[in-house]
Amino acid sequence: MIELGPELARADAMLDIKRYDQACGLLSRLVAAQPESARAWCLLARAHLGAGRHQQAVEAASRAVTLDPSDEWPHRLASNALLHTDNYPEALRAGMEARRLAPGHWQAHICVAQAALGARRLDIATAAAAQARTLAPNEPDVHFLSGKVSLAAGDLERARSHQERALALDPAHSGAMNELGRIRLRRHDTRGAIRHFIRAARLSPAETVYSRNIDVVILRTVSRMIYVFTLAALLLIWIPVVAHLGRFPVAIGLTVLGAIAVASFAWLVLRLPPEARLLVRRTLRSRRAAAALAVAVGGVAVAFAAVALVPAAELPQILPVAVIATMGARLGAFAILRGAAGKR
């Protein structure tokens, strides 16, 4: 017969040092030997959650709930695990049960707010976050989640103030720093967003989501530059038709347009921190970004060539082709970049 107490404490220590697989091995043996221990199932759920095995975490937490339905912890774990499996209604239900059992625990309110956020029940999320703030005004995670709720509700100023409060309570809270980046992004401040994502990555370098956020912002910026470039090209190809100009002004126009696009991108990149510049270089060297740029520049060049090289009399016939080529280039580049951003 295994003595459960010390073994559970050992498993707890393993979870503390993030040895999720080893903890899982130990706890699997424990629950096999003593399947009636709700605490062992709870710890197993935590171990699975830590290891990213969310479905197993749901199963383990459900077992713990069955064994001890009056304890709030199994419900909270179940809610958390369900959230990761995108089962938001069930996550919300489990979170609410945890809150019913332990109305004085701020963690239970946070759990409800998180699940409600996933389920897009902003009213419930806002109320739960407010209650958590009342119960634990000095807990950074409470303000962090309150900020997320405010951001989801579109209240950028309140979201910023919550995240800044979280950072004041815990200056190493990388999640709050990341959220500040997201708020900047919503305000179309690309450079500010990247700076915050970089700070978040510095605080938690092992967390890859922050650098992925930077990658996505860079891809979006490239996509936006291509959009502006093709839009300007679309307008330029009308000039020969409207103004009856020759090839030379069109070629000059294309050159100037290309130069402006490159210069504005370079200007943006040069103002970024060195780490972000490295990421930009890496992104631009990626096959997808190169392909998108090639499609955009190629399509626009074909359109300009068509307009510049045909005799003036044939311009009305060739112009629709040029317009389609430009728009096709834009859409093609956009699809390629969206695929790349989606992959990240």
Binding site: P6, A13, I17, D21, E59, A60, A172, L279
Partner: protein
């Protein structure tokens, strides 16, 4: 009592995550047998015997009659060929020393149909040694490059965590990885071996060496080789040997460990997964674990003050999680990046993992080229998968065959390198947390491979 399906699922996941945990596999196999899932149980027993050929519990499980569960729950199905009890380790499992690994020609003599006709025929009657002798004469050479398996003598020895053992490994036994060896020589071994010069140049022996790099790339192997080079005893300790949740026990364990090292001097004390033993205290919730880190710091400083002959080595996959106090001068102040094996090393790893398997016509050079970016553990997995493939093919054809180049190449196509997640994190660290150039070598490697 039949085991719970959730428990079985959890155990399966745990075994998947930790394929080398022998007691866990034995436990799973026992429960599977109880649940009547004999085929799956036998597979796990096979895997256990591959890792620990003499494992008594696994051998006992093999001896269990197939109808054990049926005896408790109802009459067994009398003619189910899969239920035939294998008296020897199942194919694919490593045979005990001296016994042949391959399934021999049992299949060719009987064929699967034959076995169906006689399901209760005890396989113990099969003469394995004779089959081995028969096959030995007809076997083609194992590797087409003609090299033998002498290098395999460098196999790692089993270690009891608190036992100081004499390591016979040398750096020469570590194939390839010349850069690592050179840096090891300069940073650690040369000053150790030349006390006079060391004194002349005022170089002291304070501090230890921290090996870091992706998992499964030979950090422990290198640590053993360092011990061998120094002619020192070797003590390997992992966090599981130390952690104890009773307040004061972990600290006592750590102290005892260092005392044993001092008594066995010259001794290389190797702290495996030092990020677990010495994790950043800011990340720890448990007070006992924090106390353990403090005790470790205390012991490290003691080693400096007057314990000649205790050489400290540590390894981690996540140096960024190690408490910064542990990396201050006089403690683990020198770091060495151990990267995935280079071509020569990969060849040697293939040779090692294939040495006791029936292989023929394997082009190691080509395999090494195909596995750029794979870890040693990945290569072990490839060899395992290729063996399974040949085994299943042998079963289908009713005739034993050798593991060949196509099996290995198919396994390589199937198994992707497992280091992607580590390099994702490493990239972040090199980009955002390279304070004071601590990860310059890592950043240089990532740049070279265009990962930054």
């Amino acid at each position: 009592m039949e085991p719970d399906l959730t428990v079985l699922a959890s155990l399966r996941k745990a075994v998947e995550a930790m394929p080398d945990d022998v007691p866990l596999r034995v436990h799973l196999a026992t429960l599977l047998l109880r649940a009547g899932l004999r085929d799956e149980a036998i597979r796990h027993v096979g895997a256990v015997l591959q890792r620990d050929p003499g494992n008594a519990e696994a051998l006992a499980l093999l001896q269990q009659p197939p109808g054990r569960r049926a005896e408790a729950t109802g009459p067994p199905d009398p003619v189910v060929p899969r239920e035939a009890p294998p008296a020897a380790p199942p194919p694919g499992a490593a045979a005990p020393p001296g016994a042949p690994g391959p399934p021999g020609r049992a299949g060719s003599r009987e064929g699967s149909a034959g076995r169906e006709d006689r399901p209760d025929r005890p396989e113990a009657e099969f003469d394995w040694p004779q089959a081995e002798n028969e096959l030995r004469d007809v076997l083609p050479p194992m590797f087409v490059d003609g090299a033998g398996t002498d290098a395999d003598s460098a196999a790692a020895e089993a270690v009891d965590s608190y036992d100081a053992e004499r390591s016979t490994l040398k750096l020469a036994d570590v194939a390839g990885m010349n850069q690592v060896k050179e840096r090891l020589e300069a940073a650690f071994l040369a000053p150790m071996r030349n006390p006079e010069l060391r004194k002349l140049y005022g170089k002291n022996l304070r501090g230890g060496l921290l090996l870091y790099g992706p998992p499964g790339c030979g950090k422990t192997f290198i640590a053993r080789a360092v011990a061998g080079e120094l002619g020192a005893r070797f003590m390997a300790v992992s966090f599981a040997d130390i952690i104890d949740m009773f307040v004061g026990q972990s600290e006592r364990n750590i102290h005892e460990l260092f005392e044993i090292a001092r008594r066995n001097a010259p001794c290389v004390l190797f702290l495996d997964e030092v990020d677990a033993i010495g994790q950043k205290r800011s990340q720890l919730r448990n007070t006992p674990m924090r106390s353990a880190v403090n005790q470790l710091l205390l012991e490290l400083d003691d080693v400096d003050s007057g314990n000649e002959g205790v050489f400290l080595l540590a390894a981690t996959n996540h140096p960024w999680d190690v408490d910064s106090a542990l990396r201050r001068p006089g403690r683990f102040d020198r770091t060495l990046l151990v990267l995935p094996p280079d071509g020569t090393a990969r060849e040697a790893v293939f040779r090692y993992h294939l040495r006791e398997r029936p292989v023929a016509g394997v082009n190691l050079n080509r395999l090494a080229k195909l596995t750029d970016g794979y870890s040693g553990a990945d290569i072990a997995h490839i060899c395992e998968t290729a063996s399974e493939r040949a085994l299943m093919d042998s079963i289908h054809r009713g005739e034993a065959r050798m593991i060949g180049q196509p099996d290995l190449e198919a396994a390589i196509a199937e198994i992707k390198p497992s280091l992607g997640a580590w390099f994702d994190t490493a990239r972040n660290v090199a980009l955002f947390a390279n304070e004071g150039g601590a990860y310059d070598d890592l950043a240089a490697y990532l740049k070279k491979r265009r990962l930054i």
